[in-house]
């Protein structure tokens, strides 16, 4: 490995039991990290420990197990708060993941919008950051405007500025595109939106594993994260919201935990964050998310990002040596995601053959159909690398792609 990073990948790989697996008789090469990252034993241990030692329902229990579980769950909230530098712990709302987080905010805005208001979305969103807002527009009569993107897969900022007006109430955009890997200039996007008084939600699902986001420095109103993209378990994530915004939004779901007092005449809601955390949460998931944050910070997000960038540069070079291969998303500012196609070959066919070789990539539209429509393609093959991947694995993929090409053309 190169000298530029201090990451010892051989040591790191020992933390991930799944990386020893064989698939179709070949050693697994896991390049579907943008869909879900793998889980280190430190996180698996936290899950086992929870169910082995102190599984209990949290908050309000007077017994020891409940108290222990509550403490660990709230400690996880504090870890996440520190990691994203939120001003207050109750600005971190546990959710089932980014999709849930976005729906929570979109639903809350129903009562804050009226006909004629405008929302702005970027052209490179995941469906989960499009559909909840379309539903919101249907409910309120607000209009959805789209920031266009360039052939390189970058947002056209001049066009964005033209869309902004005093009618704009909300801007939402991903920090990193899941289909292309583009890192969007969110600080500029946020500033410009604030200048017209609009709130901003940034979908951080793809960014959080690779970029250290500081929500106060960004001055973002809402930021969403999924644990399973950053070495944590599935089914848990967070919504960061500025306190003032979280007070303005009405509760999303009714139930236990989120109330202060209930009578049949009137219910008063609990304070933040519980107002948005109805029902028994994914307690184990939240605690394991905290363990994942610890794990990633012990290595260092900057160290991770530097190493992953080496992988990106190497894989880009190697793939481009294949004739007829085109990469979609060619911004200089990218995370370790490569979306590609080979002339006249369907991505599904390449993915099927790579799978036979033990190589896991994603094929299809990556839940971002507007991007595929933009490039007029049915989908792409997407390889996404994490810090536990190696250049040798990239070599195996490149060989696999060449083999697939020879078979298919």
């Amino acid at each position: 490995m190169s000298n530029t990073s201090s990451l010892d990948v051989a040591v790191i790989r020992k933390d991930f039991p799944i990386l020893d697996r064989m698939v179709n008789g070949k050693p697994l090469v896991y390049f579907d990290n943008a869909a879900t990252s793998q889980t280190p034993k430190q996180v698996i241990d936290a899950i086992v420990d929870y169910y082995s030692s102190y599984n209990a329902n949290i908050h309000r229990g007077v017994h020891t197990l409940s108290q222990e579980a509550t403490d660990k769950y709230e400690q996880a909230r504090l870890k996440i708060q520190r990691h994203f530098n939120a001003a207050k712990p109750h600005e971190i709302i546990f959710t089932s993941g980014t999709t849930h987080s976005i729906n929570l905010v979109a639903n809350g805005f129903s009562s804050l919008l009226q006909k004629g208001d405008e929302l702005i979305v970027s052209a490179m969103e995941h469906h989960s950051n499009i559909v909840p807002w379309q539903m919101l527009c249907e409910r309120t009569g607000a209009m959805l405007k789209v920031i266009p993107m360039s052939e390189k897969g970058e947002l056209i900022m001049d066009e964005y500025r033209k869309l902004l007006s005093d009618k704009t109430k909300m801007v939402f955009c991903n920090h990193v595109s899941n289909a292309l890997g583009t890192v969007n200039p969110i600080k500029e996007i946020i500033e410009a939106a604030h200048n017209v008084g609009a709130a901003v939600l940034i979908d951080g699902a793809q960014a959080a594993p690779h970029i250290q986001a500081d929500v106060q420095e960004l001055d973002v109103d809402f930021y969403t994260v999924s644990a399973h993209k950053m070495c944590g378990p599935t089914g848990v994530g967070i919504l960061y919201g500025k306190e003032e915004w979280l007070h303005k939004l009405p509760p999303y779901q009714g139930g236990g935990e989120m109330i202060a007092e209930v009578t049949f005449e009137k219910t008063t809601y609990a304070d933040l964050p519980h107002k948005f955390e109805a029902g028994t949460p994914n307690i184990c998931g939240g605690i394991a998310f905290g363990a994942a944050i610890d794990y990633m910070n012990a290595i260092g997000i900057d160290v991770i990002a530097a190493y992953e960038n080496e992988l990106l540069v190497y894989a880009t070079e190697q793939l481009l040596s294949i004739e007829g291969l085109r990469i979609y998303g060619t911004s200089e500012n990218k995370t370790s995601v490569i979306s590609f196609n080979i002339e006249s070959i369907h991505p599904y066919d390449i993915g099927s053959i790579l799978d036979k070789l033990g190589i896991a990539v994603r094929t299809g539209h990556h839940c971002a159909q507007p991007i595929m429509d933009f490039y007029k393609i049915p989908g792409t093959v997407r390889a996404s690398f994490n810090f536990y991947n190696t250049k040798e694995e990239i070599d195996a993929m490149v060989e696999g792609v060449k083999r697939a090409k020879a078979m298919l053309q």
């Binding site: 369907h346 599904y348 066919d349 099927s352 036979k356 299809g364 049915p378 078979m407 298919l408």
Partner: protein, 140 residues
């Protein structure tokens, strides 16, 4: 030949292949060589949408037999379609309704017909049977 006989024939053919590479190469050849559907039937109405590859199917009754033509934009999918067409096309609707697709397991292509695989093939088999049911009703 009956559906059962054709399936046995295909299983026989596949038994000479030693590994997945040979099976895939054969399917890719099938996919490349067969003009499966008349272009005029490649309409949006005839698309069976899988998550990733598009599949088109057209059905026509010839005498008491149902003739299928189909296509896909992905070549491996197209190869499997060619196999399915060989099994189910030119058969009586009632026989199509009653037929199973267990032979797919035997020729080592099970993963392509898993209900969770996003390639449109499961929907395609369902659609073939739906056509058979519809035409059977018509024949009755």
């Amino acid at each position: 030949m009956s559906i059962q006989e054709i399936q046995e024939e295909i299983v026989d053919e596949f038994s000479i292949f030693e590994d997945w590479m040979q099976r895939y190469e054969y399917m890719i050849e099938l996919g490349k060589s067969l003009p499966l559907i008349n272009g005029k039937y490649k309409t949006d109405d005839n698309i069976i949408k899988g998550c990733q590859s598009k599949v088109w199917v057209h059905a026509e009754l010839e005498g008491d037999k149902l003739v299928f033509t189909a296509d896909s934009d992905a070549i491996i999918t197209k190869g499997i379609i060619a196999i399915l067409i060989r099994v189910f096309s030119n058969q009586k609707p009632q026989d199509i309704i009653e037929a199973n697709t267990d032979f797919i397991d035997e020729i080592g292509l099970k993963e392509h017909l898993s209900p969770t695989r996003a390639n449109g093939l499961v929907s395609m088999v369902k659609q073939l049977k739906m056509y058979a049911i519809a035409y059977q009703t018509q024949l009755n």
